[in-house]
């Protein structure tokens, strides 16, 4: 869709404010050059825009550095709120593949008015975190600090909880997306070899590159790591039974509701009954019914052996 000149200008203003906010939260100083570089816009356009932003009381100059005013901060938070709310909406209400959330939210963040944001927040049950674990600014513009540090900074044997996944750059995020990690998942660092980090995530051993591990944030788990008896349902062999512990936080929206409807709730006993002639899917006996699940789906269900 082509934007009108006025809209194009507004989008640029909002992107500059977002960049300044980003710099502040990372504790680095923002300049005209850093804004131009981050947004991929010519310096002349930034230079032309800045006096207007200063005039409007959104930005202050401190020497070469640019800083947000209180009003500018509020505006930036409102755009960020729109972005994170929209990503939550895509994750929970649509079947949009997660690789596309960020790109779509980048467009939609400039379209959602504060009123529309509030309506969206209400319809989503006022979520506090987006699907990547980023806190969503409240109506009043409050936002909590991000907890956690990169996964690559922890040592073998530590039990962690994922708090946040960086959704940029896209190639790195697609690696994280494939592992179906999500904030709230418990993991244990097993070790690092040949540039790859081995972790046990809720009963499943996975590997990720150090670049990706750099972009997954976690904190030490207060309640310990995954129990030794914990497995994913996909790892249960035919004829065996297991007790459901829960559904992965990475499984959201209609997929999650469907599993809940089928009776995949903590405490349910599930038995792997038989698999199809081609090996997948597998039929599980659950609460007196038989349900066929693909491997990827069964992997989203945490169970313990009994």
């Amino acid at each position: 869709m082509r934007l009108s000149k006025g809209d194009q200008r507004r989008v640029l203003v909002e992107d500059v404010l977002k960049h300044l906010h980003d710099c502040r939260s990372r504790g680095v100083s923002a300049t005209e050059a850093s804004a131009g570089g981050a947004l991929g816009v010519g310096l002349d356009r930034i230079a032309k825009l800045l006096p207007e932003l200063v005039e409007a009381g959104l930005v202050e100059r401190r020497g070469d550095c640019l800083e947000l005013t209180v009003a500018g901060e509020g505006y930036a938070l409102s755009v960020i709120r729109a972005h994170r709310l929209y990503e939550t909406y895509l994750a929970d209400r649509t079947g949009t593949p997660l690789g596309e959330w960020h790109r779509r939210a980048e467009v939609e963040e400039h379209r959602l008015s504060p009123v529309a944001q509030d309506r969206l927040a209400d319809s989503l049950g006022n979520p506090r975190f987006d699907p990547h674990g980023d806190p969503i600014p409240t109506r009043g513009g409050e936002v909590v600090a991000q907890a956690g540090r990169p996964l690559s900074g922890f040592v073998a044997g530590e039990d962690l909880v994922v708090t946040h996944m960086e959704d940029e750059p896209e190639e790195v995020f697609s690696e994280i997306a494939k592992l179906r990690l999500a904030p709230g998942m418990r993991l244990r660092v097993l070790g690092c070899s040949r540039g790859r980090l081995r972790v046990e995530v809720e009963g499943l051993v996975q590997e990720l590159s150090l670049v990706a591990a750099e972009r997954v944030h976690a904190v030490l788990s207060p309640a310990g790591g995954p129990a030794a008896s914990q497995r994913r349902l996909s790892a249960i062999s035919l004829g065996e039974s297991a007790r459901v512990l829960g559904i992965s936080p990475a499984c959201r929206g209609s997929e999650r509701t469907r599993l809940l409807d089928l009776g995949v709730v903590p405490g349910s006993i599930v038995e792997a009954a038989f698999s199809g002639p081609l090996g997948d899917p597998t039929a599980y006996r659950l609460r007196g019914t038989m349900v066929g699940l693909r491997r990827e789906q069964a992997e989203q269900i945490f169970v313990e052996r009994i």
Binding site: T96, G125, R128, S268, F274, P277
Partner: protein, 475 residues
């Protein structure tokens, strides 16, 4: 409200807001799960299951056969093959009866009545020879197979077998980002593509559902089986010694039907890599216990919901098409019929496809139903080659294979024409009933157009390739 109270309320709200950040991020899910777990626990305490172990064992044995590693797929092919065989063979008798009633007696009666009432020739032509005859043709050829196929299909569904088919084949469809239930909608498409498209409602994820709708036309429908069998027995069977002819013809038809499934698979792959990009999303398939089918309800749903519904739509489209078919053969432009000019214009492209202008014109005017393609081809061929048929614009059929061959040979048909027609009959636009149904189901012009034009891509490529290779080898 007094000032002190509002302060207190404000403080509570502030405290709640502050504490809210300390709750686990997945609180909503945890509450939902706790509710589900609690309610199932309460239900579990009060409900006693009457699980006869004998019944359970019987179910398990059945599942072991119907979804077994070595037995699952052969049993499925055998069952589907039998359903088709019963449909095709069984439909012959009622079809012949209906044809005699509607096409022979009904048509003659109406003609005489029109004549007796002094209806002008052109009006009688459009209404009786065009509209009535075409509609009657569609009904008599379409109704019996559907009235046999759909009840059997619904019985299998009611028995609990169909979900197992989806279960067995899901892996194949998962590989191309589609849903296992597409195996069912395609099998339904073997009966009728319009019904197959409606059946896509059983797929609950929207992306996979669209893939199933767009590719359903690759399932060779009942309207095309007779064409395939006739052409195969006359042209493919004719290439072999008489003893082997029948088997060769049957093999060729099965090959075309199999090609249809392969193309549907390939098209699904292309779609989920391009316009319908995405991961295979939610999949869960309930495998209900086997149970004796409810015959009465089966007949009701299959006859009313599927057969009558589809037939009604087909009739609505056949009426105007009948008029068009009659008009193309009877309206004279520059001393020749409209059909003549259309055929002349399409003879060039037809040659490249290994076909001819008559076939292409027949596919254009016979868009309401694939059943009337062959009768239209015959009518146009005799019209343009000056043989005796039933009259200009009047469709007819011949029972005798030799006579059929003679008529078409006069129209310049060879074995190549037959083979390419079989491919083209598989890979061309869906009939108008199906196109309309696709629009009704998707409410989108974009997907309707895509579903309509997509089959031509493999169709044109295959036909041109076969024609080129065939001619090069012949030369």
């Amino acid at each position: 409200m007094r000032a002190g109270e509002s302060d207190a309320a404000g403080a509570v709200l502030d405290a709640a807001r502050e504490l809210g950040w300390h709750l686990p991020p997945d609180l909503n899910d945890r509450i939902t799960e706790a509710i589900y777990a609690e309610s199932s626990e309460i239900a579990g305490r009060r409900i006693r299951r009457r699980g006869g172990s004998l019944r359970l064992a019987w179910q398990e044995t059945l599942d072991r056969i119907l979804t077994g590693r070595w037995t699952g797929i052969p049993v499925m092919l055998l069952l589907l093959g039998s359903v088709l065989w019963v449909t095709i063979v069984g439909a012959n008798y009622p079809s012949a009866l209906l044809a005699d009633l509607l096409l022979n007696r009904g048509w003659h009666l109406l003609r005489e009545a029109a004549h007796a009432m002094g209806v002008p020739g052109w009006l009688g032509g459009i209404t009786v020879d065009g509209m009535y005859l075409t509609t009657a043709w569609v009904v008599s050829v379409m109704l019996p197979p559907m009235a046999i196929f759909f009840p059997i299909f619904t019985i299998l569904e009611d028995f609990g077998y169909l979900p197992r088919v989806a279960f067995n084949l899901d892996r194949i469809f998962k590989a191309v980002g589609a849903h296992g239930k597409q195996a069912l909608t395609m099998s339904m498409g073997l009966g009728c593509n319009a019904a197959g498209v409606v059946a896509c409602r059983i797929i609950d994820s929207p992306r996979e559902r669209l893939i199933a709708i767009v590719t359903n036309n690759f399932a060779l429908c009942n309207g095309r089986w007779p064409t395939q069998m006739l052409i195969a027995s006359v042209f493919v069977g004719g290439l072999f010694p008489p003893v082997l002819g029948g088997f060769a013809a049957a093999g060729a038809v099965l090959l075309v039907a199999g090609l249809g499934f392969a193309l549907a698979w390939l098209a699904s792959l292309v779609l989920s890599r391009t316009v319908l990009r995405g991961e295979a999303s939610t999949f869960s398939l309930e495998l209900p216990p086997y149970r004796p089918p409810n015959i009465l309800r089966t007949f009701y749903t299959s006859i009313i919901d599927r057969t009558i519904f589809v037939l009604f739509r087909a009739v609505v489209f056949a009426l105007p098409a009948g008029a068009v078919i009659w008009l193309t053969a009877n309206v004279q432009v520059g001393g020749q019929s409209l059909a003549y000019w259309m055929v002349a214009a399409l003879d060039g492209p037809g040659w490249w496809l290994g076909l001819n202008g008559v076939i292409l014109v027949a596919y254009i005017v016979a868009i309401p139903a694939n059943e009337i393609v062959i009768p239209t081809v015959l009518m146009l061929t005799v019209l343009l080659t000056g043989q005796t048929g039933a009259g200009p614009g009047v469709m007819f059929e011949v029972d005798d294979a030799d006579r059929f061959r003679q008529i078409l040979a006069a129209g310049g048909w060879t074995a190549l024409t037959g083979v390419c027609l079989m491919i083209f009959s598989l890979c061309h636009n869906p009939c108008s009933t199906t196109i309309y149904t696709i629009w009704r189901e998707t409410r989108s012009a974009k997907w309707t157009v895509l579903a309509t034009l997509l089959p031509f891509v493999p169709g044109v490529i295959l036909c041109v390739l076969i024609a080129c290779v065939w001619r090069a080898m012949a030369a």
